[in-house]
């Protein structure tokens, strides 16, 4: 195992045991992340992108259960950690920003109170020092009149401001890893641009790593170093930003890229949608989960799980299409 990684998840399996049956939310997921790197996780709802990140913080609640794999984060073996260890780690070494800032802030405490809480919990700063630090954080995230805001409640702020406060709380103890779970989905585009800009600025300033969970390929293209594409609880393809956008190797990734309308197109082209409906994880299909919706589905796809194919040190995909040439051509160097 390479110890240079800040995050190293190996073969993670996680299931939700619901009354209706076992839902395999994560199925053999492996990702890693270096310090200061930005990893984007894309996929549709229910593909497991949030669960992957949450499990790193021990936030998978009942009936979710980790049933296999190794999770390493910053020297911790996450799968063996207790709730007590987690509360020491959360907010200090790893922080999270949620999608909806209104529901993730406490409505009955002032903004100042909520920021100071984190600081006082994880450092030995006294009230005065924590206050000064909180004011400093608010100005760091670009909030005007920070001292006035300290006394305000979440409902008095706009959506963009609330998300800035969330970021301030997340960064209070300068974590090594920031998990951003759809941080701008609830915001308008012009505010989204402000928040993304802010996140990148702070990343450079503080040198933290970011896991960016989103379904917006545009955000990923402009922010991330590497991308993991998830479908039905698996990482189907991962690679650097350029590899994913310019040389996609999985049919799902290709489909996603073709199905989005482009703002810079100059003539009207019909969109090429991915047909069918998202997978029902209670009854996943045999073989490759994407096969029933895949344009180039072959017989083998319906029977077997596609193997991992490496294209470069950073780029791999699970898709039989990459073996097709070998299987048919017969004169590749493997023979």
């Amino acid at each position: 195992m390479d110890n240079n990684y800040l995050v190293d998840i190996q073969h993670e399996r996680l299931s939700f045991f619901t009354p209706a049956g076992e839902v395999k939310a994560l199925n053999d997921v492996s990702i890693h992340l270096k310090e200061g790197e930005v990893l984007g996780i894309v996929g549709e709802s229910g593909s497991g992108k949030s669960v992957t990140a949450y499990s790193l913080m021990g936030l998978t609640a009942y009936p979710g259960k980790l049933i296999g794999g190794e999770l390493h984060f910053n020297g911790h073996e996450v799968e063996k950690m207790t709730e007590k260890d987690f509360s020491k780690m959360r907010g200090k070494e790893v922080s999270i920003i949620f999608q909806d800032p209104l529901t993730s802030l406490n409505p009955v405490y002032t903004i100042g109170n909520q920021i100071m809480e984190v600081i006082r919990l994880h450092t030995d700063a006294d009230k005065k020092k924590a206050y000064a630090r909180a004011v400093e954080l608010l100005s760091l995230v670009g909030i005007n009149e920070p001292e006035k805001r300290m006394k305000q409640y979440p409902h008095e702020l706009s959506g963009g401001m609330r998300q800035r406060v969330m970021i301030a709380i997340a960064l209070a103890c300068e974590p090594k890893l920031l998990i951003a779970d759809e941080p701008t989905t609830a915001l308008d585009v012009t505010i989204q641009a402000q928040i993304l800009e802010l996140m990148m600025e702070l990343k450079d300033k503080l040198g933290m790593a970011i896991i960016m969970i989103t379904h917006d390929l545009g955000i990923v293209a402009s922010m991330c170093d590497r991308i993991a594409v998830m479908y039905a609880g698996r990482i189907v393809e991962t690679g650097t930003c350029d590899e994913i956008f310019y040389h996609p190797k999985h049919e799902y990734t290709k489909g996603l890229l073709e199905s989005i309308p482009r703002l810079d197109s100059t003539k009207h082209e019909k969109l090429i949608p991915i047909e069918g409906n998202p997978v029902d994880l209670l009854n996943p299909p045999e073989g490759c989960e994407f096969a029933p919706r895949c344009k180039n589905c072959m017989k083998i796809c319906l029977r077997e799980n596609p193997p991992k194919t490496d294209f470069s040190e950073t780029h791999y995909a699970h898709c039989f299409m990459n073996q097709k040439a070998e299987m048919e051509g017969g004169n590749t160097n493997e023979r």
């Binding site: 641009a193 917006d216 293209a221 956008f245 996603l256 703002l263 047909e275 409906n277």
Partner: protein, 330 residues
């Protein structure tokens, strides 16, 4: 011109927001908006939340009773507040329909899909007997890519994309000419969005429909629309042909809106420079004087604070409301 299907003039929609008597306050959700939609075209309406795009769509259908303005549909005045004309909407409801944003909330959970689609057929008495009604429902469902066995199921048995198809089938059931699509795809997954967008286009070709397509996602709106109107705080700020609008936008708000959209292409994304607007959208309860965009506009000056910019046609078919259009776009 006679090929205008819908004409909206000086539409105003104010909502009371507390206060009594003289102090009565109003949210000016839509304030003096004028535009027209030609037969068979798609007019897109974009803007940030709270800019009044949904309200505009609903006021046109008179789901809200507008405070002021005149609406003409297919040559008939359906509303003229000044001259106190208020047409009976029932016959027009058959020609003007709406598809809602949230496919989870807009379908009655206790009705079967067949009844949801059939309800409009009943109200407008379009079917002579039960058999005809049933056939009509099935043909509608088939049009939107569902099949006859879906008619007996309930909404909860469907995925988001399928529900939105039901919502569309319901709108189509009365054979309308004009459909207001209010964010019909924003609640759907990315991979499903393209399916629904394509379906809207196919139905338009088959049935000669006219759309008012409301969404906040400019890339989708640009894809589907012939012309696009951009709204900000209850005002229309720019309206033009969709390619023209994206390639040569004139209003500073449109410019920043376009540059704020992340491009799904890493090389272009790295090269592009964003115009990041400062601050938030002001409250519509007391919007800024003069030009409503001036508080966030990089070009704002004295003149913008005092005078409200005029809605004018700077080039053929390209409307804009800004004092400094000529200065900004040299």
């Amino acid at each position: 011109m006679s090929d205008k299907l819908l004409q909206v003039e000086h539409l105003k929609q104010y909502f009371p927001a507390g206060g009594m008597g003289k102090n009565r306050k109003f949210v000016k959700a839509v304030d003096d908006v004028s535009f027209f939609v030609n037969k068979g075209e798609t007019l897109g309406l974009v803007g940030e939340s709270g800019c009044g795009k949904t309200t505009t769509g609903r006021s046109i259908l008179r789901l809200y009773e507008p405070t002021g303005g005149k609406i003409t549909f297919d040559g008939n005045v359906i509303l003229d507040v000044e001259n106190k004309v208020k047409a009976d909407m029932l016959p027009y409801r058959q020609k003007m329909q709406m598809v809602f944003q949230d496919p989870y909330a807009s379908l009655d959970p206790r009705m079967t899909v067949g009844d949801i689609v059939g309800e409009a057929i009943d109200i407008h008495k379009l079917a002579a007997n039960k058999k005809e009604r049933h056939d009509m429902i099935i043909s509608m469902l088939e049009k939107v890519g569902l099949n006859s066995e879906h008619a007996n199921r309930y909404p909860h048995e469907f995925s988001g994309g399928q529900r939105q198809r039901v919502g569309i089938a319901r709108a189509l059931a009365v054979n309308p000419q004009f459909i207001v699509c209010d964010e019909p795809i924003s609640a759907l997954d990315v991979s499903i969005q393209a399916q629904v967008v394509n379906m809207f286009e196919e139905l338009q070709e088959q049935m000669g429909l006219t759309y008012l397509f409301i969404a906040h996602d400019l890339s989708v709106v640009k894809h589907i629309s012939d012309r696009i109107g951009v709204m900000y705080l209850g005002k229309m700020v720019e309206l033009a042909d969709s390619y023209e609008l994206v390639a040569r936008s004139l209003h500073p708000y449109t410019k920043s809106l376009i540059s704020a959209i992340p491009i799904a292409d890493p090389i272009k994304a790295r090269a592009s420079k964003r115009i990041v607007l400062q601050g938030d959208v002001p409250s519509p309860l007391n919007p800024p004087t003069g030009c409503r965009f001036r508080t966030r506009c990089p070009y704002a000056d004295e003149c913008c604070a005092q005078k409200e910019p005029e809605w004018r046609e700077v080039e053929k078919g390209h409307y804009v409301a800004c004092h400094h259009v000529e200065k900004i776009n040299v």
